[in-house]
Structure formats: structure tokens, C-alpha cells
């Protein structure tokens, strides 16, 4: 996926007002099968995977013993004993190694990486449902959010999920690599705006979604990152459970917050954040927000600086940006 096609702002606005498509084929697509797949995934992922019924998907995190986040992933149960796990491209090898390492304790689990032999295209925006319905068999718009199904497009078997990373309604379509170009072309012919990495980032930031490698990583745990709702705190055991529960019990020492600023230099990864005259944290993500037409960002601050409305100062190459803590999401799509 390139950074942009027509331009980041144009692509971003197209997704918010009509629809756009993203080639997200670089992301990992790992199939797990057999009676051991469910318990393996349930043990490695913070969310309740064992409880997923057929056709349901769930966002969660793979943690290490210390509670740090190895990756954030979406898992779809296709059948009783068949799961599709989608992970970040940068972490695919680490996730596969982790799965293989722990699969030895779950012998009836098969792990197969199908990333290279498939493509994945995300179609996102208010017009996506009508357009994708016309393209794919079986009225995908009937799929509820965070559900998926196997269906057909042009005689090809595809998996389609009602998921996305933009804060808009939309779908992600997985097909064989050989038909990737044809799928992309058909979506373009239906009027989709091709969108790149730049718009993908501004859209997810407005929606308040963290990016692994920037906002969350192996040194941050789900409680600090504000992702406790994706952790089965009272449920079955998972790697990192003890550390996560302890952080929750004691309260995290720092919290990932969203903030908005005016126009001017944008907050960027690594910029120091001050609160009441002292440097207390740093920016993890930041950008101009095309929908809000001001600057937004996320970063870690101590709990006393994390309340909505808290005033932060961010140092941007020697200039000071005045910012205010804002609950995520920054942008909410208008309800019909």
C-alpha cells in the first residue's frame, strides 16, 4: 500500500463521506484448525475466544508473561474448529513463532500461515455496504459488526468480515492472491476511492484506535493502554493474566490518553508532554485530523494528567503546543 494515491486528506474525506478501499494484504492471516485451536487461542489472547460462536470475530491482544502486548489481533471463528487470526504485518513472524511455540501444549491444533497465498482488501465508508452487497453473494450487509462468513464473489470463495480500522462501517474481504487485482479493479469500477497508508493512519487515529508499534507494544500492558474491555479479566487463564490483573488492582502508573490541540505544528511520536510544568510523558501518535480540522494525538501520561479536559503542553521542535485531554474517539460517525 502506498502512502497515498490522490492525497491523504482527499482519501480520508472520501472514506468518511462515501467509501474507500485499502489493500491490507501485508497483514498476517493465520488459520488455526482442529479441536486444540480454540483452547490455544483462548490461552494466548486476552479476549474470550473460546466463547466465540460460529461467524463471530473479536479484537484482543496477545500478551507475554509480563503483560506487555506482543500484538493486537482480530480472531474470527469460521467453524467449530476453524479460526482465522489477522495480525499486524510487522508482527507476523513473532506471532507465528509464538503460536508454534505454544501449540506444542495443544497438540490437536494446526497453525497455517496463509498470508502470502491470499489478499485482503478493506472497503470502508457509509457507501460500502450498498456497494459490497452488489459485488459479493449473500447480502454481506446483513452481517453484524464483528461477524464474518465464507461466501462467493464471481465464483471465487472469499471470506468477508464486517470489520475495519477506520471508525466507519465497512468490510474486509479475503480472497486468493491470484484474483487480488481483479477484486481491486472491480471495487474501483464501483467507484471506491483507492486509499493509502497515510489516510489509514489519520482515519484510525480519529477513531481512537491504537497502532501497535506506536501506541502499544511489548512494554505497554492492556490496562495502561485503556484496553481493559478487551481482556477477559474474570475469565479463563491467558498468558500475562497475573501481570494484567495486578496492574488493574493497583491502578496503572501511566495511561494512554487522547488529546486535541488547535492548528499549528502537529504532535508527533516522541514529542515530550508536560503537565503543570513538568515533563510527564510523551506522544505516541499524532497528526492533523482532516475531519476535525485540528491536531489530535495520543500519548502516555500519569493518572493525574489523564482526566478529560486536563491541559497538556507538548514540545514540538522547540515550539509549545497547547493540548487538552479528550476521550476517544475523536470522531464519531453520524448516526443515520
Amino acid at each position: 500500500m502506498p502512502i497515498q494515491y490522490e492525497g491523504i486528506i482527499a482519501e480520508h474525506k472520501a472514506v468518511r463521506s462515501a467509501w474507500g478501499i485499502f489493500d491490507v494484504s501485508h497483514m498476517g492471516r493465520i488459520y488455526l484448525s482442529g479441536p486444540g485451536a480454540s483452547p490455544l487461542l483462548d490461552y494466548l489472547i486476552t479476549a474470550d475466544i473460546a466463547g466465540l460462536t460460529q461467524g463471530r470475530a473479536r479484537y484482543g491482544m496477545i500478551c507475554v508473561e509480563s503483560g506487555g502486548i506482543l500484538d493486537d489481533v482480530v480472531t474470527l471463528r469460521l467453524h467449530e474448529d476453524l479460526f482465522l487470526l489477522v495480525c499486524n504485518a510487522a508482527n507476523r513472524k513473532a506471532v507465528l513463532d509464538w503460536l508454534h511455540r505454544h501449540a506444542s501444549a495443544f497438540p490437536a491444533a494446526d497453525v497455517v500461515d496463509r498470508t502470502v497465498e491470499t489478499v485482503m482488501v478493506a472497503a470502508q465508508g457509509p457507501q460500502a455496504r450498498e456497494k459490497v452487497d452488489s459485488l459479493v453473494q449473500g447480502r454481506p450487509s446483513l452481517l453484524k459488526r464483528y461477524t464474518g462468513a465464507e461466501t462467493e464473489w464471481d465464483g471465487e470463495d472469499v471470506v468477508i468480515t464486517r470489520t475495519g480500522y477506520t471508525g466507519e462501517d465497512g468490510f474486509e474481504i479475503i480472497a486468493r492472491s491470484e484474483v487480488g487485482s481483479a477484486l481491486w479493479e472491480q471495487l474501483m469500477d464501483l467507484g471506491a476511492a483507492p486509499c493509502g497508508l497515510g489516510a489509514r493512519d489519520t482515519l484510525r487515529l480519529e477513531a481512537g484506535f491504537p497502532l501497535h508499534g506506536q501506541d502499544i507494544d511489548i512494554t505497554t500492558n492492556p490496562i495502561e493502554a485503556g484496553l481493559a474491555r478487551f481482556v477477559k479479566l474474570e475469565g479463563a487463564d491467558f498468558i500475562g493474566r497475573a501481570a494484567v490483573l495486578e496492574t488493574q488492582r493497583n491502578g496503572p502508573a501511566r495511561r494512554l490518553v487522547g488529546f486535541k490541540a488547535g492548528r499549528g505544528p502537529a504532535p508527533r511520536h516522541g514529542f515530550p508532554i508536560s503537565f503543570r510544568g513538568a515533563t510527564v510523558g510523551s506522544v505516541t501518535s499524532g497528526s492533523f485530523s482532516p475531519s476535525l480540522e485540528l491536531n489530535i494525538g495520543m500519548g502516555y501520561v500519569p493518572p493525574e494528567a489523564a482526566g478529560p479536559g486536563a491541559r497538556l503542553q507538548i514540545s514540538a521542535r522547540g515550539k509549545l503546543i497547547e493540548a487538552e485531554v479528550t476521550p476517544a474517539p475523536f470522531y464519531r460517525r453520524p448516526q443515520a
Partner: protein, 127 residues
């Protein structure tokens, strides 16, 4: 392709000389490379810069770039419209997207800069 009444600097700024004054902005190539401009950091009126020194920054959604003054002098005006409409730099880099007006310390400096043809050649050699 590139306006022939302007002179160009290798860091992609252009200069339009008007007697002992000059107008400075960034080239079409620069605005394309940057992408959507969202903020332009301009100096204070009255500040002075030596030739080829940094006088400001142009920030796009994806990146920040320093801008350099191709001719030494004193800033006598800045384009105030860029505060509310930074996209003028993308839309009209040689016109409405101008950045600063300079009183030249040494008017002959501009003739040392590249012509449109030389700038175009530089771009085609690099890409």
C-alpha cells in the same frame, strides 16, 4: 513547465525578484512530495536571514520540512492567509501559496540561483 520568471534553489524554493525585493515560496515538486500541507511555520516580520539559512518549516500530514531562504535579507511580509489555508501551498505554490517577502541584502544573489531549465534538469537527474 517551471515558471521561467523565477529562480530556484536546490532545496526546492523559488524566488521572484522585484527590484530590491523578492517573494519566496516552494516549488510544485516540493508541494507534491510533501503532500497535503497542514501548517506553515513562518518567521516574524523584521527578522533577518543569511543566504541559504532556514527561515521556516512546512508541515504536511505525513512530514515536516525545513524551508531555506535562497537570498539573504529582511522579512518585510509573510503570507497571513497560510494560517487558515495552508493548502494554498499545494493548490497554487507560485501564486497564492507564497510564503515571505524579503528586502534583499544583496540583490545580485538571485542571479546565482538556478534558472527554470537548470532546476528541471536537476529534478530529472535525481529521479
Amino acid at each position: 513547465m517551471y515558471p521561467t520568471d523565477l529562480r530556484y534553489y536546490k532545496e526546492h524554493e523559488w524566488v521572484r525578484v522585484e527590484g530590491n525585493l523578492a517573494v519566496v515560496g516552494i516549488s510544485d515538486f516540493a508541494q507534491q512530495e510533501l503532500g497535503d500541507v497542514v501548517y506553515v511555520d513562518l518567521p516574524k516580520v523584521g527578522s533577518r536571514f543569511a543566504q541559504f539559512t532556514k527561515f521556516g518549516e512546512v508541515e504536511s500530514v505525513k512530514t515536516v520540512s525545513d524551508v531555506f531562504l535562497p537570498v539573504a535579507g529582511e522579512i518585510i511580509a509573510v503570507n497571513e492567509k497560510l494560517a487558515a489555508s495552508p493548502e494554498l501551498v499545494n493548490r497554487d505554490p507560485y501564486g497564492e501559496g507564497w510564503m515571505v517577502r524579503v528586502r534583499l541584502a544583496s540583490p545580485s544573489q538571485a542571479s546565482q540561483l538556478m534558472t527554470a531549465g537548470e532546476y528541471e534538469r536537476m529534478l530529472s537527474e535525481a529521479h
